[in-house]
Symmetry: C2
């Protein structure tokens, strides 16, 4: 398309979405659930067509020599396909957040004031490679009463379009407007530029992908962005730690999965117990082939590891690498975290009550933990039922964003002819 | 100052604020309250100096021929001065939102997950003329554990600086850092441009003032903005309305004060009862010297009033003018409101249960009311204790923004050595 056409195309998508958002915002829970299940049925019925479209994307990806990591994320394996269907069924069972009334109280003037949970309106989601995000994102927006505009990566265009046809067919068979979920059909990058600068049609943008994508979008957006930048997560082993818990939590936080945003990247150790625990950890990490990088004090205990530089404290490795710093105690640990953490997830290991309370109050991150693995920072583990992402922002939503993160609360007033005097 | 100096000056203010935010974020409630009362004492002790500074601002305002409205807002009358002191005492009595833990629940993995209310961090507030905002804004930020950077209008610079000295003295006498509240000392506009583009130091911007100011700031900000644009508020008189309630609510919503954002601007009337209620309202509005502008159908009932154009439905008069439109019923009323309302405050007058429930669910505004005057949309009337503004945004905070609007919630996890499997 020409750039003028893209402008018109996106603007029309925006108009459709705004209109559809008014409809889905007042759709009863039962009908929304019916649509979710109908989408699952449509996907199941068109399984071979979707997998065939995905095969074409994979072929073209191979021709374009996409990286193995990208190719892996692009592939819809049978088990990933089944997970999409399960996801839809699970979202159908979640409690509908819309219409929930809270804090209703009587005021001296005679009015009753409360807050009602309402959809945000239109949500734009920009993501890369994984075609299953198309279904995940659509299902969460639908359940929370929002219309959505989805823009996947160009490498997954055929998979996404095949999935989009199933979504539209599911919406239709539940008697809902097909415009509630619109999947952008062009791979032109200009479409993203348009999407993030249409505040009259789009209420919030959720970018899901690498740091580069998210920074680019945040920089240019004229629409609020719920974003997730780095996950530079810390575990602090306090001098009052139970060392067995510390050992297990550190190992699990780093090695359960290397490429996730809630993976441990920097370990902080109180100097009082460093000489006791670090050699044990070193041995375990050696077995797991995790490269350790230590501060000068760490190197005095672990002579064979590499030394860490300032850059290490600022790095999200997403790889079997761990930086280690010995601190004088709680104050220095909190200082280090509030300086270098990406405000994602940080955990203290301690049996000391006051230290645990200070850590949880003073560490300014979206998830703060006591005696637990950072790997728990996840919408499912937190009981949100699902997540559209993890926010490292401070306003609106912090941490895993579930259905409630796609809603807001308006004030409602019940009167009986009351006037203000 | 030269523009390079402004950059350095603002950047230093940012550094100071970030540092101070770490301190005030963990300051105990009692000490925050002590500071609020100490500021009140300092203001009382320096009453004549502050009023003298205000007199100088007023003199210069007269020389610059500021509008009477602006001059009125600029003036610190004795009663306004007393209100500042009362406001400080009132904020001291409010419940401290910080540290509140909610939704704590046990998860199957063994961890306990909840949410803890925390300060946003550093709040930038940009406002015009009214010097009492300096105290209001500072007190709400302080109580909610935030550092703040305040930038008042150039016309109030001397009043604001005199007030700032009292705030600093109060902070100091409570043993708190003076950098918790920083009032910008330069009137150079470039300082605002810097303030709204320092995301590393400022977490949110709250502009308070005219639409022009707010639009300018929203356009250029690189920091999230909690904003309030127009207040185009509606009352819809349903065919099932109690006409006495309808009469009182309409009159109160329009005439209790003309210049406030929660004042009624467009009245919608169901055609079934228009001929009965409009002549009575016309008579009352004539007595109050309110100009009425009607749609063609309204003009058939009220022959002597002016006709309304499309522009009227989009106008916040802030004046004794009211536009009136007759609609076929609830659907058309909701359509009109969702098209033209500024999403501030809209009220239905009806005795019909289903109509009341549909209105409250389907009108997408920050305050939606049944049988109550739009004038109730206010932080004090809602029981928030105070308000820093009214948000017409959808994310983070909608409607009157009190202490909670200056906070967010982080996830907290209590474990006992739990790891993820």
């Amino acid at each position: 398309m020409e750039s003028m056409d893209i402008k018109q195309y996106m603007s029309q998508i925006g108009v459709n979405a705004r209109k559809a958002s008014r409809l889905i915002g007042k759709t009863p829970t039962a009908q929304k659930n019916q649509a979710l299940l109908a989408i699952a049925t449509a996907l199941q019925e068109n399984r071979s067509a979707v997998l065939e479209a995905n095969r074409k994307d994979l072929e073209q990806g191979q021709q374009k020599a996409l990286s193995p990591a990208l190719m892996d994320r692009l592939e819809l394996t049978p088990s990933r396909f089944d997970s999409m269907l399960e996801g839809l069924q699970q979202v159908a069972t979640l409690t509908d957040p819309i219409g929930e009334i809270s804090n209703l109280s009587h005021r001296p003037s005679g009015i009753k004031v409360g807050q009602m949970r309402v959809p945000l309106g239109v949500i734009g989601i920009i993501y890369e490679s994984r075609p299953n995000v198309t279904v995940e994102a659509a299902s969460l927006c639908l359940k929370s009463g929002n219309a959505c505009i989805l823009r996947g990566g160009s490498e997954a265009i055929q998979s996404n379009q095949a999935i989009a046809r199933c979504i539209k067919s599911g919406l239709e068979s539940a008697g809902l407007s097909q415009d509630i979920v619109q999947v952008i059909e062009t791979t032109d990058r200009a479409a993203v530029g348009e999407l993030i600068t249409l505040p009259e049609f789009v209420d919030v943008i959720v970018p899901r992908g690498g740091k580069g994508l998210i920074e680019r979008i945040s920089k240019d957006a004229k629409v609020p962005v719920i974003k997730h930048l780095d996950g530079i997560c810390h575990v602090y082993i306090d001098e009052h730690a139970d060392l067995e818990k510390a050992f297990n939590i550190t190992l699990n936080s780093k090695t359960q999965r290397y490429g996730t945003c809630n993976t441990l990247e920097t370990l902080l150790v109180s100097e009082a117990i460093a000489a006791e625990i670090l050699p044990k950890l070193n041995q375990a990490f050696e077995e797991k082939q995790v490269e350790l990088r230590g501060c000068p004090q760490t190197l005095k205990i672990l002579a064979t590891i590499n030394s860490a530089t300032e850059e290490d404290w600022n790095t999200e490795y997403l790889a079997p690498i761990l930086s280690i710093r010995i601190v004088s105690g709680l104050d220095e640990a909190i200082d280090h975290i509030n300086t270098y953490s990406s405000a994602h997830t940080d955990s203290i290991v301690t049996e000391n009550y006051s230290h645990s309370q200070r850590f949880i109050a003073e560490v300014d991150s979206s998830s703060v933990m006591i005696n637990a693995s950072t790997r728990f920072a996840d919408g499912f583990e937190y009981g949100l039922g699902a997540e559209i992402g993890i926010s490292t922002d401070k306003i609106h939503a912090r941490g895993p964003v579930g259905l409630n993160g796609l809603t807001s609360q308006k004030f409602i007033v019940f009167g009986d002819g009351n006037i203000r005097t």
